[in-house]
Assembly symmetry: C2
Homo-oligomer: 360 residues x 2
DNA sequence: CTGAAAGCGCTAACAC
DNA sequence: GTGTTAGCGCTTTCAG
């Protein structure tokens, strides 16, 4: 229990290691070991690690050396227990395969890491039930914060979270209802409306919305609804909303275009729930000899990396996934530092931006 | 920035909670509370949680009820400390924005979650130095396993890992050197060779490799090298390798095509480091009126979701990111269950698959 | 500025 | 089967 692990003077490739570890506790280098070697108490080491300036320079020097010599790695698990709160941030997204969330999670992770916060990742796969289970597990880690996607959660989940008194940030959606605690995102109804308005301004009247997994992805469904409602409000005929049951891919987009062409031959413009879907539409239009934007205007959502380079370049709506990540990180950092943002600042609207290119 | 979309006059939970929590420990429901209410000892509760069948049905019933009534959420941090090893798996990838890794991480997370293992995510951004820091932090969590991308790591990182006696899985690369512990992936040299061979078989002699961030992404560089070496071996002229400093995007592909067209007018076939790059090439070819595969054959890498639908459908090489995720999970599960795979089984080759479509 | 002491909530022998 | 007893490695008062 008190040995120094560094006795093996060089790499000891752990062939035995695992077994040993499983049977008996590893003789890990502890803070106590460092303290002894530095000739101080473990609480001084602890203090040094947290606020080096609060320790005398001499002791600090000694400690630093001991840490180096012993190859000490602090045990955050023990630290978390003692401090009654770990430096973990649990992030739950529908799927990291989705480029939107990948972008946000990437930014979030980088920002949080700079603050010594770890990201624990979970996938709800668009299931409230799975999400609830994930939240339950997340809570078991006494996380510094929990980040959820969207405002829709099971009742039990909301209850769990509300009574856990842990900072919660809901992201990628605003407006549908009041957040549990904090929220960073934008209004999807407004996104749909922006698309409808853009089409209306260009004089199109025959519109459609092409979406994938609309039954699961409530945010995409909200965009579709916002699109339809705004079109109606502008006096246009009701746009048709087509849904593909598979995840949002170019393949789905291509198929949807086929379907909508069959049912609405006079179609003038389509808004897609995702740039990938729009890309598939573009591909299928090329195959069918439909000129974009001449015969058909196409609008995407997401402004993914390929959207500026496609033929034609895709007009789309940018949600700023990285900005969301950055703002979520900001909120969380504030909370862990003890200055929880006041009321209104707990909701940040990242808005959306119409990126006009050539496809619409 | 902070337009408060909804003033949360609704749920107002935890406004005090955080403060209280930070100042004094929360009076969290503990296992002891459950035990008392169920009229048993806490170790019985602990046992029940781990192996319900080892507890008498009556006691089990009582405990289950108490847990329910109290809304008990086990504290995994405490559990991890006591058990000298947390149920965390630290996964470090260059970037989750990259669809390859997103796919693998998604699969991995789902598989691991089923076993009660949590994924902690880190991004190295293709920097060995950042990776090392990430590994150091990961180790601080006494993780059940660490998953790294590729076989290249700083010396210090390798040392850290080897002396930590924690299962390590390196993924997405095989063959460059011996893994630290376990590895799941495929040989990138072979991928490059497959591409070269495919072109050679079709009689092309003027080849090029278009890559992005080749200086950072050593695996992509290895594919490029494998491509060139195989071409040479087959008696073809040395392929030119072009590199774009930005991340792999369609934009980069489009620009690379421009460059390679200028320098190699007789070019017959290009292999790309990534399907996104290939997509950009396809787009640019359309713009320039270059027929694919008529005037130029294009091959991608990754088999991303759009590749089957593009114009023309992209011939590419599929690395099976999800299979990698599944195999990594399998290895880790075996380790946590105490049956560490023997020697040869610690390396699994997931291979690669040439997906012949129309672009080459 | 430093050290001693008291846990954090749970697991894991080991008795009973 | 179930309870008792020790800690896991660290943070955090609280004295000195």
């Amino acid at each position: 229990m008190n040995g120094s692990a560094i006795k093996s003077d060089f790499i000891e490739p752990s062939s035995e290691g695992h077994v040993r570890r499983q049977r008996r506790k590893m003789q890990r280098v502890t803070m106590m070991d460092v303290a002894k070697r530095a000739g101080v108490s473990s609480s001084t080491v602890s203090l040094y690690l947290r606020r080096p300036e609060a320790v005398s320079p001499m002791a600090g020097q000694e400690i630093a050396q001991a840490i180096e010599a012993l190859g000490y790695v602090p045990n955050l698990v023990a630290g978390g227990l003692a401090a009654a709160g770990s430096r973990v941030v649990s992030v739950i997204v529908p799927s990291i395969r989705n480029a939107f969330f990948a972008e946000t999670v990437a930014t979030l992770q980088t920002e949080l890491a700079a603050e010594g916060l770890q990201v624990m990742l979970g996938h709800s796969e668009y299931s409230e039930e799975d999400e609830e289970a994930l939240i339950r597990t997340a809570l078991a880690w006494a996380p510094a914060a929990i980040v959820l996607t969207g405002l829709r959660h099971s009742k039990a989940a909301r209850h769990l979270l509300a009574s856990a008194s842990v900072p919660v940030v809901e992201m990628w959606e605003l407006g549908a209802q009041a957040p549990i605690d904090m929220a960073v995102g934008f209004c999807h109804t407004a996104v749909g409306a922006t698309a409808a308005r853009h089409f209306a301004q260009q004089g199109f009247t025959q519109l459609a919305f092409l979406g994938a997994r609309l039954l699961q992805d409530s945010r995409a469904a909200t965009r579709a609804e916002g699109f339809a409602v705004e079109a109606l409000r502008l006096g246009l005929p009701e746009p048709q909303i087509l849904n593909h049951p598979a995840p949002a891919t170019a393949e789905a987009g291509a198929q949807l275009l086929g379907r909508v062409q069959a049912s609405l031959p006079k179609l003038q413009a389509v808004a897609c729930s995702n740039d990938l879907v729009a890309l598939g539409v573009l591909f299928e239009c090329q195959r069918r000899g439909i000129a974009v934007p001449g015969d058909l205007a196409v609008m995407g959502f997401g402004d993914l990396s390929f959207s500026s380079t496609s033929n034609p370049p895709l007009t789309t709506i940018r949600p700023s996934g990285d900005l969301i990540g950055r703002e979520v990180a900001r909120l969380i950092k504030a909370c862990t530092k003890g200055n929880r943002p006041p009321g209104a600042d707990r909701i940040v609207d990242t808005g959306h931006l119409l990126v006009e290119r050539k496809s619409a």
